[in-house]
Symmetry: C2
Subunit: 219 residues, 2 copies
């Protein structure tokens, strides 16, 4: 029988980190602030981008690289924003890797861009394990997922700079405790900023716009 053997291990992660370093350098060289948007399927990553980009794009030209296992659902949704979008299909892989982002960047005109959003594959686990060379990690959580998620999926909350807690419009209908969620998240990552929002009603979206604007200004 023909057995395909793929060697992985530390050398694979080292290779990923090397490409991630090159991605970071390329983005820095072009003065682009970049954000790796992660979260479980249905947390509202695309909805958040739909709310943020019209605000941000007026001052800071935006682009999006969309990571999905299959299909172009999220790119189709974002098309109407009139910004450059590149779709990466991972063909089964549950996360983006640095070489995938590298390929994505080849399809964007970087000159003139100010903000790059990368929407990772919907998954609370593996995307946290692969650095891409992106400046800031944003974890999108949602009220309907329950308040114990930071404790159950600690790495994601540890590596994130901002936690967008989405779907606050459903807070009254759920048993979600913002105090518990904050305590779990801060225990793992005391520096994590947590901003509750509703991408649906627009509540606090201005605060995310401010957070991103501040990050853009230091690039």
């Amino acid at each position: 029988m023909n057995v395909k053997v793929i060697k992985i291990g530390e050398n694979l992660l080292a290779e990923n980190d090397k490409i991630a370093g090159a991605n970071a350098e390329l983005l820095r060289h072009n003065g682009i602030a970049s954000f790796n948007v992660m979260g479980t399927p249905g947390a509202g990553k695309t909805a958040l981008l739909e709310s943020l980009i019209p605000e941000l794009n007026r001052k800071f030209p935006c682009a999006v690289i969309e990571g999905d296992i299959a299909g172009t659902f999220d790119s189709e949704r974002l098309k109407k924003l009139g910004i450059p979008i590149v779709q990466i299909n991972t063909a089964g892989a549950c996360h983006l890797e640095a070489f995938m982002l590298q390929k994505g960047l080849e399809h964007l005109s970087l000159g003139g861009l100010k903000i790059l959003f990368v929407e990772n594959v919907g998954n609370l686990v593996c995307p946290a394990e692969f650095t891409l060379g992106i400046m800031k990690n944003i974890i999108v959580s949602s009220v309907t997922e329950g308040d114990d998620k930071p404790a159950k999926y600690p790495l994601m909350y540890k590596i994130s700079h901002l936690c967008v807690l989405n779907k606050t419009d459903l807070l009254d209908l759920s048993t979600f405790s913002p105090e518990k969620f904050n305590a779990y998240a801060k225990e793992i990552n005391p520096a994590l900023e947590i901003i509750p929002v509703s991408a649906k009603t627009g509540e606090n979206i201005d605060k995310i716009v401010t957070w991103i604007t501040n990050a853009v200004r230091v690039v």
Copy 2:
């Protein structure tokens, strides 16, 4: 530098399948019907078990093997049901594998058990790739995740026997289209049974009890 190299590939999946076969045989030998409960973090897998087990356990003694990356949150929730529970911590791995279930089964008294629920790690991707030797795959989806998930995460819906569509109590507050969801799911897997429920209000939980009871009767 010390480089650890782990060889994976088809031989790894073949080894997993071999152990899965042994798990299946062990469960069959003991007359135990088994259910692999999968879904994204926060879909309501534990809440579903909390609703189902008190009903089922009266006739069919139940046990649960809980898979989590870290912690014992879900086992703590299920403790009050008074059934045997084994917690597996995957230490970072985003899915259960057959050898983990094998270890879990060693900690259960199988004689007299009729139903085994395995609650997999919250993830719509990787758990679908590793067979465990479990009789039926149940995907727990939820209204708040959006109606496009079967199209975006096709393998999970392809390998499942039952789709429990949870959180129907939030249907009126969302843009979720049950027709779209069903169409996407059926396109991938025409044999997939889809039952909308609310683990919160108890709506249609009796239908899941019936579905599981029918599966138990053919073991």
